[in-house]
Subunit: 238 residues, 2 copies
């Protein structure tokens, strides 16, 4: 089924990069799409461009400047609010929610899918996202799938669907899958801050370090602080 | 309920401009939002900015350049395909569909609503749109409403909904409502072409002329051809 097209939402992070390689390994003709929504961490788009090269198709980068539109949201990803440190389980991580982000990205990716005749849009949401991000939950994905099919009736490929192969997997599983697929994980970006290397202390860095450690493989990523995550984890699990 | 916020999707056309005045007349604090998605007819954004002034709030203009992303869609609104002339009932009007346009606009408008704590997003879809545009149909709006509420649980105002006061009205009804609300309809833009004045021959011009004529009021809009619509209408209704 190598002539079957799949649009892949690619942030350049560990999850979506593993997803891209997973979809390619399954024989799909992958069309990666990334979003520049004013996030602080531009590094992830550089890595997205690198990883997209494996698809053989151009990376589409959609420019969505939400810094003004979402100025009142208090989201630390698109405003001046400090990026919280610690484990994702903590209340402070709600500051990393960008209003309706996944629906916006899936809507545009679906428009692209209609335009090129793709059979599905793939997104790397996983079970560990559900607690904090409502737009990573199965019910949301299902409703969005229905809306896309209804809103593009007669124009979209019959049978089109949103594919979420990691939705019942946790981050540790994804990290193991990344090693299995020989993904160059040093060329993925998770950190919410804008530094030259991963901080090691924000929620997504802590989650990344924990997941990669769980595989038993050495982590090739340089971090400013590669020990903080162990303490953050202990605080969460007391 | 003048402190209740409503986001209004405003294109600068007759329908959405009437919607804005309709929502303001009902006492809502209206927050207009427009989209520049690479459409040829930039005039409508100029009129949107003028009409937005009546809300007392800044017009948010979201820049979405889809000319490259949707290059293969064949949509005459974002590609070099000729804009079809005639009545909306004709098959050629499918060329004016932009992939997933309404879902993309509603998703972003919903993110804005979450950011400012608005109670609803209003869109001017009407019964006459249903035939040609699947993303103007009630089932699509309903599914999108569900997806937005699920995807923003805990962040969106309880009871949030997509408001479509014109969804069971036709264009003639909207034109009458525009006159009733003293909308300056000469400062609304419907034409899909990029001229200095309305062409009078594309699908949306024909529909506009027909609707305004149905009210029995004089049409203050200048058109390049203000008679073509009568012939187009006859062809359709034979």
């Amino acid at each position: 089924m190598s002539d079957s097209k799949a649009v892949v939402v690619l942030s350049g992070g560990l999850d979506s990069t593993t997803l891209l390689h997973h979809v390619i390994a399954q024989g799909w003709d992958a069309y990666p799409i990334s979003f520049d929504y004013g996030q602080r961490h531009k590094k992830e788009l550089q890595f997205a461009a690198y990883q997209a090269g494996f698809s053989g198709n151009d990376l589409q980068i959609v420019d969505l400047d939400f810094t003004e539109l979402f100025a009142e949201s208090g989201s630390s990803l698109v405003t001046d609010t400090d990026v919280p440190e610690g484990h994702y389980g903590e209340e402070s991580m709600k500051q990393t929610v960008v209003p309706n982000r996944n629906m916006i990205m899936l809507s545009i990716a679906a428009g692209y899918a209609v335009s090129i005749g793709a059979e599905k849009v793939c997104t790397g949401v996983h079970a560990g996202d559900h607690f904090i991000y409502p737009d990573c939950r199965p019910a949301f994905i299902g409703a969005t799938d229905v809306a896309i099919n209804l809103g593009n009736e007669g124009f979209i490929r019959p049978g089109f669907f949103i594919d979420t192969p990691f939705i019942d997997k946790d981050k540790n599983w994804i990290a193991q899958r990344a090693f299995d697929l020989n993904v160059d994980i040093a060329r993925t970006w998770s950190c919410y801050k804008g530094g030259d290397i991963h901080c090691g202390k924000c929620g997504t860095c802590v989650e990344r370090l924990e997941a990669i450690a769980s595989t038993g493989n050495a982590d090739p990523t340089p971090y400013e602080d590669d020990q903080f995550w162990r303490e953050a984890l202990k605080r969460e699990t007391v």
